[in-house]
Amino acid sequence: MYRYDEFDATMVAERATQFRGQVARRLSGELSEDEFKPLRLMNGLYLQLHAYMLRVAIPYGTFTSRQMRMLAHVARKYDKGYGHFTTRQNIQYNWPALVDVPDILDDLASVEMHAIQTSGNCIRNVTSDQYAGAAADEVEDPRPYAEMIRQWSTFHPEFSFLPRKFKIAVTASDNDRAATRVHDIGLRLYKNDAGETGFEVIVGGGLGRTPYIGHTIREFLPKEHLLSYLEAILRVYNTQGRRDNLYKARIKILVNTEGAERFGELVEAEWEAIKGGEIDLPAEEMARIDAYFAPPPFEALSVDSAALDQSRQDNDEFAQWLRVNTVPHKIPGYAIVNISLKPIGGIPGDISDEQMEAVADIAERYSFDEIRATHEQNLTLAHVKKDDLFAVWQALKAADLATANASLASDIIACPGLDYCNLANTRSIPIAQRISERMGDLEKQEDLGELKIKISGCINACGHHHVGHIGILGVDKKGEEFYQITLGGSAAEDASLGEIVGRGLSSGDVVDAVETLVGFYRDNRQDKERFLDTYRRLGAEPFKEALYAAA
């Protein structure tokens, strides 16, 4: 994975020093809260309902055991002993004191971490596929490109005061695990008919109060032109995106008002004017970055592991975890392991300092010292030998991290909601906890198969409810919490937005409703259909009927 050289290290250290100065000016009263706000927002520091929240960047979700240990240290020393992984492959701390933040940033800088551009109207931390470098279905590792984007976008002088925040996701696989079609820019690396690799450029997707699936504005962009093309898109957006209305300021609104074709023409014209300049990296620098992502020293192993087969036979619980939480690896004898941060009845994405230490130890010993954060608020160990899977499972189990529910009904995405967020209408976390408890039994969940439940506490949609197979949106009706259900959304390669099914439900009824919908699916599915497939085959009506007949 990428390692800082002296330039990267200097930039992060200088940023920490700069922010220390800004905090000092705030604490001395030289800056008012109003003047300080834009400065702290450039550095991932939010003021929430009860306290400050600090969001730490994990570029494209890849980090090391050493970095995980530092995250544990921060949780222990400056917070209440836990952290919270987000849908942006970042981690948030919910209780830091302002005076401590400069020290936290220094601690993070010592392990090549920071909070740069994790908030504010700038280009945010770039996200990617959590299986990058391990997935059998990728054309190449997408992370070198994500790293190029990280560097290009860091303190970009022209694009630090955009109309609104800006999110870029990169995938290199036809199975889209990075939700590229619901990002401001989604990039899909693929091989064209001529055998060259390049990007499909998708623009203007997004969730929030006006959700859109992105449009492809360029079918094939040669990869060496990635940065100049991004600069052209950002320049068109910076000058033409709306600034008069916060809710109409994202690029999706511009793209959909202009029309994707017209928007694409504007970008192409701008790109023509700048592409010869010094924006794109020369081949040597691309190769330098590439080299950091060379595959780890895999052993030559056979596809099957006798040890694994034996433990699978001996231990049903392990066998189940193996079926649900591991994924085939591109190298024979290896597997990808998903670590669920969704224990039954737990808070999605939360992890204690001790658990962080445990994951760090396991990754160091069994997965080339590398950890991934996923956009579904879980963790991944990308390269585990099949021979080691049983030991990894035991170690995870000892740390309460072996819930066998990856992509199942209790693998729920939920935003912080009213427990933390000052924009919330409703709570999200307790709903997630109760659904998780209700769906409880893991064998039943496994029988139901892939089911993505996503919960947002308000229309800003941080819990991605629009793209949940079952989405739940918290709304406020005359001071009472209500929940609106949407069905049929997807953030994957078959991206779609969920449809609202009827009136809102009380927090008491919403858990029953999910159970009813799931029951209807179970009774009506054909063959190996997922919930989403059955919904797409039958349409909304029968699901609605089932839901409201029961109510």
Binding site: T10, P38, W152
Partner: protein
């Protein structure tokens, strides 16, 4: 409004004769009526992707930052420097804050109307970062010379 000017990487306070200003709209409307104008004021919603007048005729171009969060003029400044090759002063007016001066300077702005920073604090702000990852329009103000990737390449060549 106090005025700071950036020269060879250093800010100093400046006092000057009042400029005769004309807005781009007025000037396009009737250039003869503004023949004596020395400064062109460009609103931040003007599209500069096409040249519509001879910007080189003015010794100062004033760009507007109505709110610090409105970043359109950053693009305008770069276009003036990089696309039109404008070599006169580009001056920032409006909500010009200490903690934005670095970005402005990197986009080619070298005049700053601000009550939020004096020369000392502006110089301090400029020195907060030793490098930059990307090429911008800052060579004239001598803010940074080479983007980091270029430094890396020269280092490799030197070794």
């Amino acid at each position: 409004m106090p005025l700071l000017k950036l020269n060879h990487g250093t800010f100093s306070p400046a006092v000057e004769e009042p400029l005769e200003e004309v807005s781009l709209a007025d000037w396009l409307d009737n250039p003869q009526a503004h023949a004596g104008a020395t400064a062109l004021v460009i609103a931040n919603d003007e599209d500069l992707s096409v040249v519509r007048c001879d910007v080189h005729a003015f010794s100062v171009i004033i760009l507007e930052f109505p709110r610090f969060g409105d970043g359109r003029a950053y693009t305008q400044a770069r276009l003036l420097r990089e696309r039109f090759g404008y070599e006169g002063e580009i001056r920032a007016r409006g909500d010009v804050l200490r903690d934005q001066i670095f970005f402005m300077a990197r986009c080619g702005i070298d005049g700053f109307e601000t009550a939020h920073a004096d020369a000392a604090s502006a110089n301090e702000a400029l020195q907060e970062f030793s490098f930059a990852y990307q090429r911008a329009a800052d060579s004239r103000g001598a803010v940074t010379d080479e983007p980091i990737w270029r430094r890396r390449l020269s280092r490799v060549k030197a070794a």
